[in-house]
Amino acid sequence: MATTALPAQRRVLRRDLWWLEPLFIVVGLGLFVVYAFVTGVQTSGYHYAPYLSPFASPCISANCETYSFGRALLPAWFPPAFFVVWIPVAFRATCYFLRRSYYRAFFWSPPACAVPDARSGYTGETAFPFILQNVHRYAWYLAALLWVVDLYDALLAFHFPAGFGIGLGSVLMILDVVFLGLYVFSCHSCRYLCGGYLDRFHGKPVWHRMWSAVSRINTRHGVFFWLSLLFVVLTDLYIRLLVAGVITDPRIVFG
């Protein structure tokens, strides 16, 4: 029989690799933020007909290389991405899945389950700034609208000058819009709006079916978060490499 001095209550007794998940999140999100900033400040290189990068869509400022709605709606004050990027930023920053991830990885509140918080005081989402997480539903309204524009862009990606066709860019853009759609419509706020607010489902079969469908994909919300993030980057990178002439777009055009 051997004894050891008791650690304080706050000692970490976990011996598994609990730090691995926060590390993955810091690296993954960090890389995305750097990439998004670098691509977001560019004033060109995001359009290679008929492909338009999701970072620059909808392209509505006067300095756009192409206009999503046929003409410029805003002056050329900033790079085109600046006019719309705040919508996905607001949606993702207040996303219930991402909140879990960045509270753990960046705020260490807590870094992992049964691992002590980094800070001594804690007010959670009851006080500024985190009380602002309650705007998530508004961000969802806008993100859902933006997804419709992304869908429009993805459909345009099959419309080549010589007629209907399929290129690798078209495939990437359609995968991007599919994963974005799964991410946006598996959102917890969407689940609430699609019938989750009801106490009685009986006699409301449409609401019940919608809530059930969103509930099914909601269980994979985190997976769709990462997949949609990955495909936004891949699509943008692909278009930039096409514009730079580094690669060519394999495509079949039916004429």
Partner: protein, 270 residues
Amino acid sequence: MTETTEQVRRDATVRVFRGEDRTSGQFVEYTVPVDPGMVVLDVMFRVQQMRAPDLAVRWNCKAGKCGSCSAEINGRPKLMCMTRLSSLPPAEPITVAPMATFPLVRDLVTDVSFNYEKAKTIPAVRLAPPGPDGKRRMFQEEVDRVQEFHKCIECFLCQNVCHVIRDHEENKEAYAGPRFFVKLAALEMHPLDTRDRIEMIRAREGLGYCNITKCCTEVCPESIKITDNAIIPLKERVVSEFYDPLAWVKRRIFGGPDDGAKEPAAVADR
């Protein structure tokens, strides 16, 4: 003992917390023989039988249904009766500690009365009047949603792992904890209940303290999706009531989601 049994028997080393308070207590190491199929609670029994008869352990059913033997095994909150030795690294000593969030009684036993006090603050269900045929009816699709919440065995592992009170003792007054958000969700989504607890959930039970890091869901031995199915839907209901002017306008024009039949609940409504 047959030769076959002897061949599969081996020893396990456990480091068990002993003491009556957390500062003077210490981990004591015991090595006891173990058999295939044993769970951590069985090892505690062996320690009691062979090494330390005064070891305090709370347990009842040995079947994962009474919620008594909650502890922290290798630093992770678990039920001792549902944690097989074969699921733990065989070459290392197994650390068994009491739940960190609640006051220590002795060894592995903690005083969980904090939870019973919180339970008293939750207004009970008040059913709507029966229909014209004198009966009250719930429908399957409504039962399906809240059924999960009724699986809770009150092991309080979710309360124990929740950092809001685990790491911040000062929040215990203002925060009910995940187990009671499950309870409140079951009541809020009850198709026949007539009480509105949303203001209470926000202001008195402290839902806003939860930052949805999902540890409660990770440790739940009944696999209740506490965060996704109880806490977040409650947060969304609070948003509708307090942070969404569009929802407020819609309620004013078209009435509440269930025809405004609910009345605000008070703590005394039991």
